[in-house]
């Protein structure tokens, strides 16, 4: 017991990972729940099979058979008993395999059925961040953001998945299973959150150097909060309201930032990097790498490759006194 105790404690440690904002076992949506249910059914059935097999094996090992005088002599009664035992075992195996296959098929039907909700998003995987476009029949209500998806709670949301460079995989474990984002192709997946909350997602297909730093957040909120958020995101960036922010904006517009980033309402119109119109309202920068604080924004601008080596954001030429206004301006883009 003394030796087993610490070992069991240590083995129980990973159980701590079953809860939290990024766990397939902490399901908060219909498709994630059907996956979690299937997982537990598989675990139960396969654990039973394993335990039964081990018991049989141990019994067989413990029972000593008397040495046979003639190994070829057969006893009809033993033969019949063995035939029945083996037939039953094969039959049970078949039933188990067929029913688990059927179950898995039925669960996939639920998983990949998309009825199409009120909301359709286009999510494009990029090295190494997520571009999110909220579609709308009215073109002036379409807007683009990055790495943070807001959805109304309890409503199905259809996500169209595309990729601009290599294969990525969209995975928000608490809400749904994985779906690949493939270049030149559009895959569909539906997500739904039954409870308000923040759910973390992650690229689940190795896509290059910073694959591990390609996270996203799904924030499920009430219908009113969501509509308020959406109206705000549609609007242009808040104009700078003091001298420091004004200076920050001027610095940004005169630097290479504008070649890639867009800030709606200013002259910055690049479309190959995350949209910064409301970057201060997002919880993280660098695709879930750093919390959005003024200090982190400054650190990211000054040395992106120290934080995310190989990222496509370049190191730019900045004077020391330009960093502070620039970070203040970006942080203020709520």
């Amino acid at each position: 017991m003394r030796r087993v105790g610490p070992f069991a404690l240590f083995a129980a440690l990973p159980l701590g990972g079953c809860q939290g904002w990024q766990s397939a076992l902490d399901a908060h949506g219909p498709s994630a729940r059907s996956l979690a249910d299937m997982f537990w059914i598989f675990v139960a059935v396969l654990a039973t099979v394993w335990v039964l097999t081990m018991i049989t094996l141990l019994l067989a090992l413990r029972r000593r058979r008397p040495a046979d005088t003639d190994p070829l002599a057969t006893d009809p009664q033993t033969e019949r008993r063995m035939t029945i035992t083996i037939s039953v075992a094969i039959g049970l195996t078949l039933v188990t395999v067929v029913s688990l296959t059927g179950l898995s098929y039925a669960a996939q039907k639920v998983l990949f059925a998309h009825k199409g909700g009120a909301l359709t998003l286009l999510v494009t995987g990029q090295q190494w961040w997520w571009e999110v476009t909220y579609e709308d029949p009215q073109p002036n209500r379409v807007f683009t953001t990055a790495n943070e998806i807001h959805i109304p709670v309890g409503e199905p949301v259809l996500i169209k998945l595309e990729s601009s460079d290599v294969i990525h995989s969209f995975w928000v474990p608490s809400l749904t299973g994985k779906m690949d984002a493939i270049t030149g192709r559009q895959n569909l997946i539906q997500i739904q959150a039954d409870r308000p909350g923040v759910y973390r997602g992650q690229c689940a297909e190795y896509c290059g150097l910073q694959h591990a730093h390609m996270g996203l957040l799904v924030i499920a909120e009430s219908k009113e909060d969501f509509e308020r958020w959406r109206e705000h995101q549609i609007s242009s960036a808040i104009p700078p309201n003091d001298d420091e922010r004004q200076r920050g904006m001027e610095i940004l517009l005169s630097k290479p930032c504008v070649m890639c980033h867009q800030i709606r309402g200013t002259d910055a119109g690049g479309k190959v990097a995350p949209d910064l119109t409301h970057v201060g309202s997002r919880r993280y920068i660098g695709a879930g790498t750093l919390e959005t604080t003024r200090g982190n924004i400054a650190a990211w601008i000054v040395d992106p490759h120290g934080i995310k080596p190989g990222v496509n954001m370049p190191t730019i030429q900045l004077e020391p006194d330009e960093v502070q206004p620039l970070a203040t301006y970006l942080e203020g883009l709520k």
Partner: protein, 186 residues
């Protein structure tokens, strides 16, 4: 004795572990590299014009990572808006052997940074220095003026020409003509 032989042979495979160096972090202190290059072999006084190259160009055009980053930036910064995929449009072709303003990587860097008459804008201060070098390295790979193993082997979208790596090695002829489409209307 036999084991020693096998072990030493196995040790040879370690030589394959060395990978191409990728420099992600550019030096933020130097604003821009300053290469002294000549546009023409003619100069006043005796001798040819003096040139001074830092050797940085070679580092960029022999590095597959820099060339492929250049390929990505080429479309991101809309070079294909005028030069198409190297075949030329309102801007001159880049995959041929004619170079109006010199075809060495240092010349191309200067062309991108300074701009040229009749349409080529200056990207000074808009594209960081290391990215200009990457784009220039990619442009050198279009006419296959870079080593074959470093040239891109595929592109992400459809293309009517073979990938840079499969093109025959090119040469550089300085001087050339501005295509009629790029000339100012008379």
């Amino acid at each position: 004795m036999r084991w020693l032989l096998i072990l030493s042979l196995a040790a040879f495979s370690l030589a394959a572990c060395e990978r191409e160096d990728r420099e992600y972090r550019s030096n933020p202190v130097t604003a821009e590299t300053n290469e002294k290059i000549a546009l023409s072999p003619l100069s006043a006084g005796p001798g040819s014009p003096s040139e001074q190259r830092s050797g940085l160009g070679q580092q960029y055009e022999e590095n597959a990572y820099h060339i492929s980053q250049g390929q990505r930036l080429y479309t991101w910064f809309n070079c294909n808006g005028c030069h198409a995929n190297g075949g030329g449009d309102s801007g001159p072709a880049l995959m041929d052997d004619r170079w109006i303003y010199g075809g060495q990587i240092e010349n191309i860097v200067q062309t991108i940074r300074e701009g040229r008459p009749n349409g080529m804008p200056s990207f000074r201060g808009k594209i960081p220095d290391d990215q200009i070098w990457q784009i220039a390295a990619y442009i050198r790979s279009m006419g296959r003026n870079v080593p074959k193993p470093a040239a891109p082997s595929r592109r992400d979208d459809m293309s009517s020409v073979p990938a840079e790596q499969r093109r025959p090695p090119g040469e550089v002829i300085d001087g050339g003509q501005i295509p009629p489409s790029a000339q100012m209307p008379q």
